[in-house]
């Protein structure tokens, strides 16, 4: 932002109304790129697929870049939310609903009917859209594309192109720029390129996005993967060890130091898409108290479900005989029970007061899991737990949570429920990190004394549906398990009230009745009561 006067722009009418000519051209370029994909979907045979695929992806990217340039670089640096609630796509208007329907349909086809996208069945060559991506897949890993390769490529392009747009939108804010560069890097490198290269090096290693940890990648401890890890020896075992370390050591440590934002807003792919392509929808998340209640039940139920499902899966492939392998069915159950009891006991011992009413819900979750363990012991066989197949539990989780919740609803409903519906209501990883963040983390959003004017920008633009204002107007820090630390509340605050900080645990939660700026004696009198 600079105040150097720009004489090139006329005073009479500095800006055209609505979308500018340049933006229209940019949109046209992007749509031509998109149209190539649509043509491919309808089995158009392109003379040289490689060229047309490149053309398509380049045009989509260039269109987005040109659009963003004209939207933001022509204006002074600052908050760019003018007209958000007047624009159809970002205010649940007709375009918003149509986009929602299109995205949802795409996800349904992607997960359940990939042959409609051209996925070759039973070794048949790919056609349609997936066939168009064969040249790129061959180039990277020497194998034909799959629906997941197509999805991964488009996902990566979306994060990079819209990430560029986001960086321009917040070009006055280095926190926003750095975390966006970070998610772009992790998506392109860790989620997209590295797994392809790993396949080239050793085709037996299962697809492993190293930044993705259990329980977000709920499949990580499936038998086929464990077998593959063991089979590929050093490297596989290293991956397995890293997977376990990630969830039990690395993530609690980083969450303690920086809050769950280190993952949700800086690393995670789901978060990456939400923050870039989904940025236009962040204001659509519900801030109602009722939505918060639903959120807490839903996300913790998913966590309990994922824990039980994973235990059941592992339980069934473990053996009975300790002489063959030390980790038997029973050792496993007992270790899990001991671990969970320890966690539960430590939390209750140190944080019971802070948790208040929530302690009861925590206890319910804990006992459900423990009872499940006992039930597993009495009903478990080599493929059954609770008298049903562990495999069916796993498939149910994969279908309802992994596909429908995280994909179809989580992303398909961006324009309706906001861009973090999955992260907020479903993600079991977010739930674990949130638990750590609420209880054992240095992270908080600090409220700046008595400066809040209750305007509501922070709450409106909170993608996680946190009513930030309700804390800020009480002069209270925001310590919430769901906060992903995107920093947008701080950015949109017109009075400089909010700051994301890491500091001592002491005094992190500071409820006040009377705010700074009033009579000091009155503050003492009321706040210490």
């Amino acid at each position: 932002m600079s105040n150097k006067i720009d004489h090139s722009m006329s005073l009479a009418n500095p800006n055209a109304k609505g979308v500018s000519i340049k933006q229209k051209i940019a949109l046209a370029i992007g749509f031509i790129g998109f149209f190539i994909l649509v043509l491919a979907l309808f089995n158009t045979s392109f003379p040289n697929q490689g060229i047309f695929l490149s053309l398509s992806l380049v045009l989509i990217t260039v269109g987005t870049v040109l659009y963003a340039n004209d939207a933001y670089l022509t204006k002074l640096k600052g908050i760019k939310n003018d007209g958000v609630w007047f624009t159809s796509i970002s205010s649940r208007g007709v375009l918003g609903w149509l986009t929602g329907v299109a995205l949802t349909s795409f996800y349904i086809v992607l997960y359940f009917y990939p042959q409609l996208l051209g996925q070759g069945v039973d070794g048949a060559p790919n056609g349609g859209l997936i066939g168009l991506f064969d040249p790129l897949s061959m180039l990277l890993s020497g194998r034909p594309a799959s629906q997941w390769f197509v999805y991964g490529t488009l996902y990566t392009i979306a994060i990079i192109a819209f990430g560029y747009k986001f960086i321009l939108k917040y070009r006055h804010n280095r926190y926003q720029q750095l975390r966006t560069i970070s998610v772009m890097f992790f998506q392109l490198g860790f989620a997209f390129l590295i797994p392809e290269f790993m396949y080239v090096m050793n085709a037996d290693i299962p697809y492993y996005d190293l930044k993705n940890m259990w329980p977000l990648n709920y499949y990580n401890f499936d038998q086929y993967r464990i077998d593959a890890f063991i089979k590929t020896e050093t490297i596989g075992m290293a991956f397995l060890a890293f997977g376990i370390l990630s969830i039990f050591v690395i993530s609690p440590f980083l969450t303690y130091k920086y809050g769950k934002r280190w993952y949700c807003s800086w690393v995670c792919g789901c978060g990456g898409l939400a923050e870039t392509a989904g940025d236009a929808f962040r204001q659509l998340s519900s801030k109602k108290m009722s939505a918060w209640k639903i959120e807490r039940w839903l996300i913790h139920s998913v966590l309990v479900f994922s824990v039980i499902m994973t235990m059941a899966v592992i339980y069934t492939y473990l053996g009975y005989d300790p002489a063959k392998y030390w980790l038997t069915k029973n050792t496993f159950l007992i270790s899990v029970a001991i671990f969970l009891t320890l966690v539960f006991a430590v939390v209750m011992a140190f944080k019971r007061k802070e948790l208040g009413k929530d302690a009861r819900y925590g206890a319910i979750g804990f006992f459900v899991v423990i009872i499940a363990l006992v039930a597993m012991h009495f009903t478990g066989t080599t493929n059954e737990v609770f008298l049903i197949k562990a495999g069916s539990l796993r498939s149910a989780y994969g279908l309802y949570i992994g596909s429908i919740f995280s994909g179809v609803i989580g992303t398909g409903f961006y324009p309706i429920l906001g861009n973090r519906a999955w992260c907020r209501f479903g993600c079991p990883m977010a739930s674990i990190l949130g638990f750590q963040q609420r209880l054992f983390s240095r992270f908080r959003i600090t409220t700046n004394g008595g400066q809040c004017i209750s305007c509501g920008n922070c709450s409106t633009y909170c993608e996680m549906g946190i009513d930030v204002r309700s804390y800020a107007q009480k002069g209270q820090n925001i310590v919430r398990s769901s906060c992903v630390g995107c920093g947008i509340c701080s950015a949109v605050c017109p009075r400089g009230v909010l700051k994301l900080e890491n500091d001592a645990l002491e005094g992190r939660i500071n409820p006040t009745e009377i705010l700074l700026g009033n009579d000091v004696d009155l503050m003492d009198f009321v706040n210490k009561k």
Binding site: L76, V84, Y175, C455, N457, R469
Partner: protein
């Protein structure tokens, strides 16, 4: 049960009500003719700009009032009959009270300009003003140019609002530089340039002579005092300050000045009638404060204080160190302590401005003992708590400049300027 009636559902009235509820189970009724529920007046601009919908400006969900047993009554009070402890509404209804809190806020100033009551001429204070603006200036076809009269905080907000709909704005400011009654020259000059960079037609030292009507009695142009120039426009915003909204009280027997006269306990001359917020006028100004403080924060603080008195703990309104904030287009402004636009005779000011012309600070200190008096900061966020503490501890300016980094409240990874500021401060001290 004692019945507390509060007229006005702005920040002052609502804060009073909330704190009374926390301390007691008295019957509470909030009366408003403006809206059904409390909303943040400071956020009105964001509705017009499309950042938020009206519902987003309401800090409490609709169920909150019932749950906390606070009754809401919509209607305009025309008469306060204190002899019978009764309110009379426009509709003829009446409402009895045991204690009455007047939190009636302000209305935009009009200085008798010809044409000031025409259609298409409005202030920017009430929700109705916003509706009016939406009617006369929905887009740049209906309103090809807007004229904003009065260079204060509301004026610049209104100009920003209109620019967000791409309506060209002519901004008439009486002073030689924007808001220079409050801001020191360096800051005020920087904001002038920032306003012009947003392509707002800023006219300094320019007064409104009259507003001309078209054949339908709607404003169609303004005439300038100094040059006689006629500027055609679709709407005129009058933002030359606000004054207490007390005309309905003139025969009520309550002592009035420019506002409702109150003592330090926020009590009027009539027992059991109190006034808080924009409409209250102190008999004696508190410290360097003005007798009438039309500021969000002071309204809230008065509400916090009065609730104590009403609940039996008679408490004087003794605000702490002065603070305030605003945003001028893209530049945030915060102030802690006292920095005067025209320095007082005992006051020395140090001014630092970043070369990009969007960030600056002014630090005020006592000439003789170098005691730190206050700071204005533009484009750099600072911590309220730290400055409040330094002011209480009566730190000298050298300590404050050395420790400025502790007060920084900018988001992580932002470039910091404390070293540069300290360097400039030290160099200045050497040359003096």
């Amino acid at each position: 049960m004692e019945h507390i009636v509060i007229i006005g559902n702005g920040i002052s009235g609502v804060t009073t009500a909330r704190h009374i509820r926390k301390m007691s189970d008295k019957r509470i009724t909030i009366v408003s003719g403006e809206t059904d529920y409390f909303f943040s007046r400071t956020a009105l601009m964001y509705i017009y700009m499309g950042h938020m919908k009206f519902e987003h400006t309401q800090p409490y969900e609709d169920w909150f009032w019932k749950k906390n047993n606070i009754e809401l009554k919509k209607g305009f009070v025309t008469t306060v009959d204190h002899t019978n402890n009764q309110l009379i509404f426009e509709s003829g209804e009446t409402l009895s009270y045991d204690k009455l809190v007047l939190a009636v806020g302000s209305k935009p100033n009009k200085f008798g300009w010809p044409g000031q009551d025409l259609d298409g001429v409005m202030g920017m204070y009430h929700k109705q003003d916003l509706e009016n603006l939406e009617k006369y200036a929905p887009d740049n076809q209906t309103c090809k140019r807007a004229v904003v009269v009065g260079g204060g905080l509301i004026g610049i907000e209104l100009a920003e609002m209109l620019m967000s709909r791409k309506i060209p704005v002519t901004f008439l400011v009486r002073e030689t530089s924007f808001w220079n009654g409050v801001l020191p020259a360096g800051e005020s000059g920087m904001i002038n340039r920032h306003i012009r960079n947003h392509h707002i037609d800023l006219r300094l030292e320019t007064n409104l002579k009259e507003i001309i009507a078209d054949e339908n009695g709607k404003a169609k142009a303004v005439v300038l005092q100094e040059t006689g120039e006629v500027i055609e426009c679709g709407m005129v915003g009058l933002t030359a300050g606000v004054s207490p909204n007390i005309s309905f009280l003139k025969d009520a027997g309550i002592e009035l000045g420019r506002g409702i006269k109150v003592n330090e306990y926020l009590e009027t001359n009539i027992p059991n009638i109190y006034a808080v917020g924009d409409c209250a006028e102190q008999h004696q100004a508190i410290g360097l404060r003005r007798p009438i403080e039309a500021v969000w924060y002071t309204g809230r603080m008065m509400g916090e204080t009065l609730a104590q008195t009403i609940c039996g703990n008679r408490t004087a309104y003794k605000p702490g160190h002065w603070f305030n904030s605003a945003k001028f287009l893209d530049i945030e402004y915060q102030t802690y302590g006292w920095v005067f636009g025209r320095p007082q005779e005992y006051e020395q000011q140090f001014h630092w401005k970043h070369e990009d012309d969007t960030k600056c600070i002014t630090v005020s200190y006592h000439k003789d003992d170098r005691k730190f008096l206050g700071i204005n900061t533009f484009g750099i966020r600072m911590r309220h708590e730290i400055f409040d503490r330094w002011l209480t501890e009566e730190r000298d300016v050298d300590y404050v400049m050395q420790h400025l980094a502790e007060a920084n409240f900018d988001p992580e990874f932002y470039t910091t300027y404390e070293k540069e500021v300290l360097q400039a401060f030290t160099n200045q001290s050497v040359t003096v």
